[in-house]
Every structure is written in C-alpha cells, then in structure tokens.
Amino acid sequence: MSGTFVGMPAFPVAARASTRDAVLRANLARATHTIRHKREQAVGELADWEALRAAGAAIKDRTLRHLDHYLLQAEQQVTAAGGIVHWARDGEQANRIAADLIHATGQREVVKIKSMATQEIGLNEALAAAGITAYETDLAELIVQLGGDRPSHLLVPAIHRNRTEIRQIFREQMGAWGRPAPQDLTDDPAALAEAARVHLREKFLRAQVAVCGANFLIAETGTLAIFESEGNGRMCLTLPHTLIAIVGIEKLIPTWRDLEVFSQLLPRSSTAERMNPYTSFITGTTHGDGPQAFHLILLDNGRTHALADPIGRQALRCIRCSACLNVCPVYERAGGHAYGSAYPGPIGAILTPQLRGLTSALDASLPYASSLCGACYQACPVAIDIPQVLIHLRAQATTRPGHRAERAAMRATRWLMLRPKPFAAAARLTARTRRLHPTRLPGPAAAWSATRALPRAPEQTFRDWWAKNHTPPAPRDTTTPTPRHDTRQQQEGA
C-alpha cells in the first residue's frame, strides 16, 4: 500500500469498502466511543469550559486577523534566539528546504516527532526520494510506517489497527527498519510498547537530525510548544545536533499568556487528560544544551487561500485535537482513509478542500461527507462551526462541473415550490397515482431505495385533507366548531 493519498477515489466509494469491513468497524467503534466518553468527563470537570472555548476561538481569530504582524514578530524572535527561519509557499518547497538542510549536515537519516504538517506535505516520501530515511518515533506513527500504511486519525493514526494486527506488523517489519521485535512477542500492550521502546532507543541515540512540527508557535519569544504523551518528542528535541521544525503559519499565538487557554483546551479535548505528560518548549539554540542548529520552516500550502475566505477561515483555528473525529458518526463508519488526506474526519472535510481546492473528485466530495448532525461543532474546543463551513463549501462545489443534473432538479423544485397551485396539483397527482409507484427508484434516487423501503404514498395530501375538513378561515372573532379527526386511519406502516 502506498504511503500517500494520491489517486484516492471519491469519499462515498472509499467509505463503502470501510462500512463492509467488520474488523475495521469494530476497531473504530471501540476506540472512538472510549475516547468520546473520556473526553466528556475531562471537559465536564471544568465549570468554565464554554468560556475557555470562546477564548480559544477569539485568540485564534485575532491572531489570524493580524497574521502578517505575528509572523514577522516570530521570525525576528527566532532569529534573535539563534534559529534560522525559512518560508515555504507549498509542500514541495518545504520538502526541498528540509532535504537540502539535511543533506548539508551530511546525514542520511532523521528521527521524527509526530507532525500533521509533515504528513500533509508527504515529507517522508520526499525525503526518501532524496535518499534520506525518516524514522517515525511516535508509537502509532511507527505502527503506520512499519505497516506501509497511511494514518487514519489525527491523534491515533493507527486507530484502525488492533493489538493482534500490531503484533504481526512488529514481528514482520521491525527487522527491516532496525532492531527486530522479539520472536516471542505477544499482543500484550506492555510487551508491544517495550518492543517499540527498544527499537526506537537505537534511533534516538544514533540520530544527528530531528524533524518536528509544533502545536503552537509563540510569537513574542519565537518559542515552539510541543505537547505529547510518550516522551519520544522530548528525545528528538534534546538529543540530535540539528532540529528542523515544519510549522503551518496558523499555529501562531501571540503570547505565553494565550497558551494558558490552549494548554487546558488541547489535552482535555485530545487525550481526555487534564494535562499531557510531556510539554516541551524550544526557543532557538542554547550553547552546549540541546540542538546546536535550529531551522524553522513556515508553511503556507493553501493556508492563505483559506484565510481569504470569511467563512472558511475558521478552519484555521484548529488545534488538531481530534475531538471532532471521535464524536463523528460518519468518521466512525467510513474510517480515516476515506477522507484521502492527512486530515480525516469533520475537520478534514473542511480543511482539505480549502488547502487543496475542490478540483479532484475526492476533494469535491469531502464537503458532502457529513450528515450535518453538528456533533463536531459541539465538541470543537475552538468552536469551529463545521456544518456551516461544509454547507459553504458545498455552495462552491456546486458551481463546478458535474452538478448540472442536480442543479436542474434543484431549480425545478424551487420553481414548483414558489407556485402553490402547481405544487398542490403535483402533490395531488402523486397521491392519486399511489398504486402505480415503484418500490425501487431509478437514477440517483436508487441510492435511497436500495436499502430503504419508500414511504407509502398517502391517500391524500395534508392540504387536501385540510381543504375537506376545514372551512376557509372565518373572521377571527367567530367560534367555529372543532372538527373531529381520526388521526389513526392513515398511519404509515399501519
């Protein structure tokens, strides 16, 4: 299986396979429901959650409004602290800058901290093409990398795998990447973690270059904030000589004070913890301590395009917590791979089409990958109104080719619904011909009747019933006798 998402089919096609994969469905249902309930508890502990949420949204919105200012401030501060700032318009530029920086060190391998930005731009594949091996050190990313797989969740990229599958991947693949897994490896979580620990320890001790992302970039001091659970990030940030950070420009926050809000929002929404186990801060370089060379690559890759859209830009508030994935009933059934990018779930459905445009069949199908149930908006710690953005993107998608028949149908129904008399006549005709109605529908409507019986057409429409049973509205001050109605006679399915 390829490690990238190029050439993915449209969402409904990819999702169909997932809905029929019983193991995947069970893995996802178990994992998402567990995190879902833990998050509810962690969030429920804070009486001021809604205020924190509003503050998080406000800080992000303000930062995005003055992004030009904060970006230059961050560049100035990082440079003053001994770091070097690079600007990348797109993923290709960022990948090239990273590869050149690594080549300049004379190294052929790097260790990596889990990073969504590097997944987004396909850094590992680009580095491989440049003769550099990138080793993922986050446990779940390691499982994905060893399995030749793709991540399917923001926080838990191997959420689609169960313990038995992980054991098999470790036993079969670890040896090809470094220290092999013990032959008697069991699927006990502690044993699996230990095998990964021993395998990764070699990498940490050998690596001279590390690549990281960032959860936040604090503009006032040029500091990277990295929130993690396993300690592998701390290893990567402290042991290697050279550190290369690839950070999306929307990761900026103005001050350390602002971090107070996000350090509460993120762990509780993400891992359902009050505080994550490891939080690291890196500001440039310090002589004799930690990395002696620090490069920051600031990545646009479609972000300014999203920023230009007054409704779509709220997607840039995202702090990648994955709460929206864990509550999403569509994600739970479709799985992360169906979304065809590093960003699955509801946030991916609004972020990917804005970063990449609506040109491919897959990206154009993403705004429709939602029932608009609103569970994501409710869970989002920075109050991104995902349903609103989905509908907004749908309105853009329908102006593109491939919507002609649908647009014609929408126009026709709108025409009819603006004209009560033809509407009533059409409705009456539908009721009168009820015995002729098919049980399966043709064309696009076949997708309805393939799994669902059609509602039985009633003998009369409501408006016909009303016309027969109610005299036209009399002057309001007269009392008309209340007619008796038998509501039971035409119940559906009776």
Partner: protein, 239 residues
C-alpha cells in the same frame, strides 16, 4: 394569538397524518390553528445541498406566507431550526417581520405550558432526539417530558440516543453506505431497548429509519411524536 401551521413539504406530501395529528392536538388544547395554503417548503434541502440561490426565494416566500401571525408551529425540528436560524441570514431583508417559528413540542411546553396533553398510547416507545431538534433548537428534555405524561406509554431508554440516524438530507443518497450503516445501528439500539415504536419530531429522519426497518422486515414502527400526543383515550386505544 394567531397561530399558523407550517406543515412542511415532507409532511404535506408523504406524512399528512403528522399534520393532521398536530391540528387535532392543538385544537384539543384550545388553539385555533390556521393553515396558510400558499405555504410550500422552507428551502432547507436546497440550501444544505449547496444551492443557496435556489433556497433564498423560498425563504422570502416563507416570510410572506407567514407574515402577520403571532406564531408559527411546525411538526419538524429540522425545518423549524432552518427557518429560525438560517432564514434571517439567507434573506435578511425579507425575514424581519416573520413571527417566531416553534417546533411543536417547544410550542406545547414553552408557549402553551402543558406537559400532559391527555394522550393515551399503551406501547413501549423509544425517543430519538433528531440532531437539528436537539443541537440546533436545544429541545432537550421537552419531548421526553411530554412522552412521560402520556397514559399507558412505556418510555424505554435508547442507547446512543444522541447519535445521528444517518439521514442528513441528500447525504442519504450521496453517501448511501455510511447513511445506511448509521441507520441500522440506530435501529439495532431501538430493538435492543425492546421498543415497539421509535418516535421523533422529524419525519425525514423517520422516513429513513422506517424505510430501513421495513426493507429488512424489522418489527419496529416509526411514528411522529405528534401522532402519539394526538392519540387520545377519547378516540380509542391508539394502535
């Protein structure tokens, strides 16, 4: 108070019994309800599918059709939410004078201030809180309070009640596999609860769930909440 019924296009065409039950119930409670015959559709399907320009004239028409009333009552959480929340931003100039649009159960509990509507329905029932009625309108416990007051009705708890049923308007045909998977899980939960009836305040969701149930021969009947509330001891024994 001049009260207009917005029956919704789905109920008008496919589920008139929900509209009839709404009228029956409101009249039993002493509300003289009117049906402005020019009404058709709120435009939600057009808007949510990505055709705001087709939805806008329908929002404007809605404002014209219901101007002058004190309240509009709709037996649908989804359509009421659309009219209340989206119409003002979709057609701001037209919607200014539109009366408040109430979903039926909110009208009963908040305006009429009743919970026991004198209904009789001797069956085991689960209530599915449809997404727009719960997340957009915030109906919360209102429908449950009404159901608990129904004589003879045994209200069972629906596991995973707050999860979407998978209807989602055109989502049901654009993503039929995921939609079906979600709906079947919802049905399984209702069956697990031992329910004879699954009720909700939106017939669009019930059309999806009822269709799925009938296609596989499931012994579970979907019924609009208005029909349960309109089933009175006077008119017999329910079903």
């Amino acid at each position: 108070m001049r009260v207009a019924l917005f029956v919704t296009c789905v109920n008008d065409l496919a589920f008139p019994q929900a509209g009839i039950a709404t009228v029956t119930l409101l009249e039993r409670l002493g509300v003289e309800v009117e049906f402005p015959a020019a009404q058709t559709c709120c435009g939600q399907m057009h808007y949510n599918t990505g055709y705001p320009d087709e939805a806008r004239p329908l929002a404007e028409k809605f404002a014209r059709d219901f101007a002058g009333y004190d309240a509009v009552v709709a037996p649908s959480g989804s359509c009421a939410a659309f009219a209340e929340h989206i119409h003002p931003e979709l057609a701001p100039s037209a919607v200014g004078g539109t009366p408040p649009v109430y979903e039926l159960t909110a009208f009963l509990t908040d305006v009429l201030r009743v919970e026991d509507v004198g209904a009789y329905f001797p069956h085991r029932v689960v209530y599915h809180p449809t997404c727009h009625s719960s997340r957009l309108l915030g109906l919360g416990e209102r429908p449950l309070r009404l159901l608990r007051a129904v004589e003879g009705l045994e209200l069972a708890e629906l596991p995973g009640a707050d999860e979407c049923c998978g209807f989602g308007g055109t989502f049901a045909v654009k993503n039929p596999d995921v939609s079906t998977a979600m709906g079947r899980d919802k049905l399984a939960h209702a069956v697990e609860a031992g329910a004879q009836f699954l009720t909700a305040v939106d017939n669009s969701c019930l059309m999806h769930l009822g269709g799925l149930a009938r296609r596989v021969g499931e012994q579970l009947t979907t019924i609009h909440l208005a029909e349960i509330l309109a089933s009175s001891t006077r008119s017999g024994s329910g079903r």
